[in-house]
């Protein structure tokens, strides 16, 4: 501690104001604790500022443009030119979307009586942090409990390093001032594919380079097959089992395939989206005594408690499954655990959604995972071509897939690809959390004509599959 500096005391010190941190801070304050929230950049964290929200804003604009262009078959013709003012798009995104949401977070914190400190926090011992406050002297905070919610950062690989100008990470790609002509995406995970599609729709010629044999590694191949069809129609080039290296040289990116053949892909901008890693640099975890695993994730128990019992961690910093909604749920658990409530991160599933075109959403076990866990698996699929509402929307490619246990009829998981499945997955998530049987889904009235009938039909079809064996009643 610096001489003459006084130490400020707080019950709960939350580091990071993303969806994990601000939710934890709010919940802890609601439970009567004195809470200090430290944020080094923007309230709302990656999600609101440089992640989920801005990407969805651009994706929606891309979708709209694409839909209008693709609606000629349906009798919709633009007389004259349909122009994109991308600068305006970005301004709209920044002011009408991001600003509004981050301002909302600030009001939430104020209403909850959470003290917000702008600065960078660093543990100096297990009970103290030093905060390098923006434009002021460092502050020393003593805390009874701390919640680390510093999130994650994009990986910057040496074989294709980000320069922040032409070679960018997701943050940079969301801030382009104009739509690139030739856009190369290095890494075919959800961030790369989402932004690749968005810029393709906004007018870029897009190439996605993925090192493995499938886009969105780990995702059910049935879903990815639908996505691949759409990418072809959108004119997106997908290079699987290929590696890009060396950045952009003379407007080109060198891509090597699995047989060692090198191809040059034109590029004026490249997005590196090869993963994210926990953000713990400069945090002083060693001083606090907080342990991390071999990949750098903070080790926590089912109440989000770290190796130091009064220090908690939530969100990306403690799990490779980096999802904002998961961070928020963990933040709530950590706050409640600190307040002495018997809260645990015991949800059965965390749904995942990819905002591609069509959207992909899944929750629970895939067919393969269920078999590996020893279930007697029964599966059904229902195609959106047989769902009236999908046809009326002109978006009928895709399917709903349900996975269940044949012995008990208990629902195990669902995978979907198709229009608005990001919304549809909620129904199945609730069913899974409730421990529902497929019969429960089948006997629940679904509104007609809606996309949710895809779930209903898949449920009935799964029951017919079970009936053939006379089980699962």
């Amino acid at each position: 501690m610096v001489m003459g500096q006084s130490k400020i005391g707080t019950d709960v010190l939350v580091i990071g104001a993303g969806p994990g941190g601000y939710v934890a801070a709010e919940r802890a304050a609601q439970l009567g604790l004195a809470v200090t929230l430290v944020e080094s950049t923007h309230l709302g964290g990656t999600c609101l500022n440089v992640g989920c929200i801005p990407s969805k804003a651009l994706i929606s604009v891309g979708d709209l443009l694409h839909k209008v262009k693709a609606a000629e078959e349906r009798g919709l013709k633009v007389n004259g030119s349909l122009e994109l003012d991308f600068a305006k798009t970005q301004a709209w995104k920044d002011t009408k979307v991001i600003k509004r949401l981050t301002t909302g977070v600030a009001s939430l914190m104020k209403a909850a009586d959470v003290e917000v400190v702008r600065g960078t926090a660093r543990f100096t011992d297990p009970h103290t942090v030093q905060i390098d406050v923006e434009g002021g002297p460092a502050a020393i905070y003593g805390f009874k409990y701390a919640i680390i919610a510093t999130g994650s950062r994009p990986v910057n690989p040496s074989f294709f390093s980000v320069d922040g100008r032409d070679v960018v990470d997701s943050t940079g790609a969301l801030a382009f001032t104009e739509v690139p002509k030739n856009f190369v995406v290095v890494g075919g995970g959800y961030i790369g594919v989402e932004l690749g599609i968005a810029y393709a729709k906004l007018g870029a010629s897009v190439t996605i380079v993925e090192a493995t044999e499938q886009l969105l590694p780990g995702t059910d191949p049935d879903l990815v097959a639908v996505l691949m069809r759409k990418l072809r129609r959108l004119g997106v080039t997908v290079m699987l089992q290929c590696k890009a290296a060396g950045g952009i040289q003379d407007g080109k990116v060198k891509v090597t395939d699995s047989e060692g053949k090198v191809q040059e892909v034109p590029a004026d901008k490249a997005l590196v989206s090869v993963g994210r890693r926990p953000y713990t640099e400069g945090l002083g975890l060693e001083q606090a005594g907080v342990k991390v695993d071999e990949k750098g994730f903070i080790v926590v128990d089912s109440q989000q408690r770290t190796s130091v019992s009064h220090i908690f961690a939530v969100g990306d910093v403690c799990s490779p499954v980096m999802l904002a909604h998961k961070a928020s749920a963990q933040g709530r658990v950590a706050a409640e655990a600190i307040a002495g409530l018997p809260s645990y991160a015991d949800w059965q599933t965390v749904p995942a959604v990819v905002f591609t075109d069509p959207e992909i959403a899944y929750v629970g076990l895939t067919e393969k995972e269920a078999r590996e866990k020893g279930y007697d698996v029964v599966v059904s699929k229902h195609m959106f071509t047989a769902v009236g509402r999908a046809l009326t929307m002109g978006e009928s490619d895709g399917l709903v897939k349900l996975v269940a246990d044949r012995q008990t009829g208990v629902l195990l998981g669902a995978q979907m690809c198709g229009p608005e499945v990001s919304e549809l997955i909620g129904e199945v998530t609730l069913a899974l959390e409730m421990g529902a049987q497929v019969t429960d889904l089948a006997l629940t009235p679904h509104y007609h004509p809606t996309l949710s009938e895809g779930i209903l039909e898949a449920a009935h079809s799964l029951l017919r599959n079970i009936e053939k064996t006379g089980k699962g009643k």
Partner: protein, 447 residues
């Protein structure tokens, strides 16, 4: 090494009993012979004691469950428990499995046999739960999982009774009430009201649809009450009842009894009229064998019994019990009095053994000790007759042309008209009254 304690055979051919209460908790250090649980059989509640010393690790069953004889009810760990030989059933099961009657192998003896077949519900629930959990997943709504945490319950240990083994809030409450519940009655109302004394809880339980909850109280028909209900209906349905009523002059016997009371008091015996009735009955029954009989409906045979075991209706808080005094014809009045006193005390405390409540050949119901002139008793089927005694009171009667005051009581004999005709019954009553009215004769004929 865990020791599994199976519900022992608790009496004549019983194969199930209702769990009334646990007398130990998980984690308790239990000594050999310490009571573990109390069960309700057809008519008695019985404390089951531990055959081993050890620490209780698991209680299987909730209050109100029907436990099967031979099913595991308590699990122990600890060296002492492990050192105990397996119980007889385990040995029997293993011996039966060993080919050619050869002694079972040592390791086989240590392996507990699979649980005895329990009720269908008991067998299914854990299976369903297990089937739903290959991935370690507990089927329960998020609100139920939270409730479990708030109740301090490890939900993975709770057998679910919902669809596909889903754990319900009721399952948690049942589990909290008494260990890993194997439920046969999953309705909340049944759980909330294990006895009459839990009435407020029963009232708080959700009333069945259409019931004006505040205007009535619903208590599950179970335990002794249920048995009484079943027995009464069976008797009335099977035996065409006829009741004959006469009166007995107790004046002489009352005088005799007051003299004998002092003798009895010296022996520490409380002497009521009943032992005299018993002696008179035994004597009369010997002369009228068709009243100490039953009908074997299956074989279509009349069974005349040569033993004189007389049951007597005992009013307890839990309901009617009928303890039995055996071989009344061979016992003294003092002996009978002493035995009855013991049966009454233990009966009211709910401590009678099942075989003390069985095997009577004739039954007496002494309403008179409470009040009432006379009543028409229901035969304790498969017996064929029952004597109901009204209260003894001074009444004016005519003796030798004079109105005199005598201690009188009405006697009502209900008999099964299939076997006993009116004439026989009346003659039996006449003889009984004759013996009761003349203590000297009673002494000569019966003592």
């Amino acid at each position: 090494m865990a020791f599994q304690f199976r519900l022992p055979d608790i009496g004549e051919g019983l194969h199930e009993a209702e769990l009334l209460r646990w007398l130990v908790k998980v984690g308790d250090q239990v000594q050999e012979d310490q009571p573990l649980l109390e069960v309700q059989t057809d008519k008695a509640s019985v404390e089951i004691t531990s055959p081993v010393s050890g620490r209780v690790t698991k209680l299987i069953g909730s209050v109100g469950d029907i436990l099967q004889v031979g099913s595991v009810v308590v699990e122990f760990d600890g060296d002492q428990a492990a050192a105990m030989p397996p119980d007889q059933e385990a040995e029997a099961a293993v011996a039966a499995a060993a080919p050619g009657g050869q002694p079972p192998k040592a390791e086989a003896v240590l392996t507990p046999p699979p649980a005895a077949p329990a009720s269908p519900a008991a067998a299914q629930a854990p299976q369903a739960a297990a089937a739903a959990r290959p991935g370690g997943r507990v089927l329960a709504a998020p609100a139920t999982r939270r409730l479990a945490r708030e109740m301090g319950i490890d939900i993975t240990q709770v057998p679910g009774t919902g669809p596909a083994g889903r754990v319900t809030p009721e399952d948690l409450r049942r589990f909290a009430a008494g260990g890993a519940g194997v439920s046969t009655g999953p309705t909340p109302a049944a759980e909330a009201a294990p006895s009459v004394s839990a009435a407020p809880e029963a009232a708080a339980a959700p009333a069945p649809a259409g019931t004006p909850g505040a205007r009535e109280e619903r208590i599950p028909l179970k335990g002794i009450r249920k048995v009484i209900a079943e027995r009464m209906v069976q008797s009335k349905r099977t035996a065409p009842h006829v009741t004959t009523v006469d009166e007995v002059d107790m004046t002489a016997l009352a005088a005799f009894r007051s003299r004998a009371k002092e003798l009895a008091a010296k022996k520490g015996i409380k002497l009521s009229f009943l032992p005299f009735y018993f002696k008179a009955l035994a004597a009369a029954l010997k002369e009228f064998p068709y009243l100490n009989a039953s009908i074997d409906d299956e074989k279509q045979e009349i069974v005349l019994k040569k033993e004189y075991h007389i049951g007597f209706a005992l009013d307890t808080e839990a309901g009617l019990l009928v303890p039995v005094v055996r071989d009344v014809d061979r016992k003294s009045v003092f002996q009978i009095a002493r035995e009855m006193e013991d049966l009454i005390q233990r009966g009211r405390a709910g401590k009678l053994k099942p075989d003390e409540l069985k095997g009577s050949t004739f039954t007496v119901s002494n309403q008179g000790s409470i009040g009432g002139l006379y009543f028409t008793p229901i035969i304790n089927w498969p017996e064929v007759a029952i004597l109901g005694i009204g209260k003894a009171q001074d009444r004016p009667v005519v003796r030798e042309g004079q109105v005199v005051i005598r201690k009188m009581a009405y006697l009502a004999l209900s008999f099964d008209h299939r076997l006993v005709d009116g004439g026989t019954a009346t003659r039996f009553m006449n003889r009984l009254i004759q013996l009761l009215e003349d203590p000297d004769l009673l002494m000569m004929e019966a003592m």
